[in-house]
Amino acid sequence: MFVDQLINGLVSGGLYALIEIGYTLVFGVLEKLNFADGEIFMFGGYADVIALSLGGDLTAAVLLTIAVSTLLALVVEFVSFRKFRSADAQITAALSSLLVGLILIELTHNIFSSEPRSLGLPQEVYSAGVNILGVQIAWIKLVILGAALVLMVGLSFVLERTRLGRNIRAVSDSPESAALSGINVQRVTQQVFVIASILAGIGGLLVACKSGVAVAEVGLTFGLKALAVMAIGGMGDLRGAVVA
């Protein structure tokens, strides 16, 4: 089933792109790798579990994911990156974020146990769908594809067309000049972390929806693969992330 495979490919491509953009954004601006991004991705899935088990719907899950991702982004930036800003401390910062990631995994194990947690979504979510060219495509896949597309187009709009995006690109090109031009480099850095983190969180949420379970280790597997994709797509180049 060629079309079926094509759709599956696009769906997982879209998911990788979301987490990928997180890595690339942070790497492009700070030249630092944020390994904790994968775990924020994983938390997106658990935000889903929490929201649904408390009787909320998917909208609640999305809002919770955004809130948790924002919080985690600020924590990770503060703990792992603020103190290690010099170029010599690149590896220290990367390892430190890896450690934060591992702590997050352990935390998840303790709270939710290490077994995959079912979201308890009704079966119809996966079976119901639309018929395109004689191929049955589940709604959930279309939603994922659509969300990934909207987020990526939105991000590129923000980067290219808004003052925030211009400031981010300015900091990425020359932090010294940016500060001299009156840009608060620290604040822009935080904003980059938050944006990257929200994208990863939403990615994690979508993956959890697709597979129906939240898994604590998903950040490691997805995160590492996304890193590989980034290496192919070009380190620090946002277009590369999307193409790849």
């Binding site: 923000v158 808004t162 003052r163 925030l164 211009r166 300015a170 090109d173 020359s174 031009s181 608060n184």
Partner: protein
């Protein structure tokens, strides 16, 4: 008022230590309204350190720096910039992956009051662009407005850096060796550009090795060596100072008349 007008920038006995090395040693100087102050000194005299202390890139170890009525020696870099001090770098630092226009737009005033204001509505504001274009035309770069900054020729890159600095509507402009790496022709053009810029700011501080440039432009000169003030006054006074000629040019006072085109 009988008291002299408040200086734009008042540096009061500042020192800066790097580990055991004292880069700036109990240095005081004023930048007066309307002037171009030239700062000269041999390599390693502390000129660039001084610039970095004013812009907040380094912190003073002792002493204070006042800008107008504000003490700025403890402020962050962007806060100092927003008060109205900016500089250009010895080695041009542009936003290389952005267009000439965007480079200037970044420096434009009205640094988004809130993150939301920076996200919505102000994307391609016509007024912002018109303002930015004015600075670009002022530096004669209007034909290159859409070119990537990284692809500019050296002279144009320097001009863009000055345009970007002016776009922030600073009151004090610091130029750190603007003629570094320029040939005579480019330096001559640069002199015209700086002269034109002085009407747009209250004062300019010029740190420079190129004697032609500094003699042409400075109203007053301060010579520093080993982080201390060695001589101060008009160009002629500083050039006549035996301490200066010996330390900086390695000449005895009498020799200078032959070297200095204005002597």
């Amino acid at each position: 008022m009988s008291a002299p007008p408040t200086p734009v920038l008042a540096i009061e006995s500042i020192s800066k230590d790097f580990g055991g090395l004292r880069a700036i040693d109990n240095l005081s100087l004023d930048v007066r309204s309307g002037e171009i102050l030239g700062i000269v000194g041999p390599n390693g005299a502390g000129k660039s350190v001084l610039i970095n202390l004013i812009t907040g890139f380094y912190r003073v170890s002792a002493g204070t720096i006042r800008f107008k009525d504000d003490e700025i020696s403890g402020l962050s870099r962007h806060a100092i910039s927003r008060l109205g001090i900016t500089c250009t770098f010895q080695n041009v630092r542009l936003f290389r992956r952005m267009s000439v226009l965007e480079n200037v737009l970044v420096a434009n005033k009205g640094h988004a009051a809130s993150p939301f204001a920076s996200l919505f509505g102000v994307g391609r504001n016509k007024r912002d662009i018109d303002q930015a274009m004015e600075f670009i035309c002022f530096m004669g770069l209007s034909e290159r407005a859409d070119q990537l900054a990284g692809t500019l020729a050296y002279g144009d890159a320097r001009r863009l850096e000055i345009a970007r600095a002016l776009a922030g509507e600073p009151r004090l402009l610091l130029l750190d060796e603007p003629a570094a790496g320029m040939n005579e022709e480019e330096t001559a053009a640069l002199i015209d550009d700086i002269r034109a810029s002085r009407t747009r700011v209250e004062a300019i501080v010029l740190v420079e090795h190129d004697m032609t440039l500094i003699c042409e432009l400075s109203d007053r000169m301060v010579a520093i060596d080993y982080g201390r003030k060695m001589a101060e006054g008009t160009t002629e006074e500083v050039f006549a100072d035996p301490l200066f000629t010996k330390a900086y040019l390695g000449l005895e006072a009498g020799d200078l008349a032959l070297e200095n085109p204005h002597g």
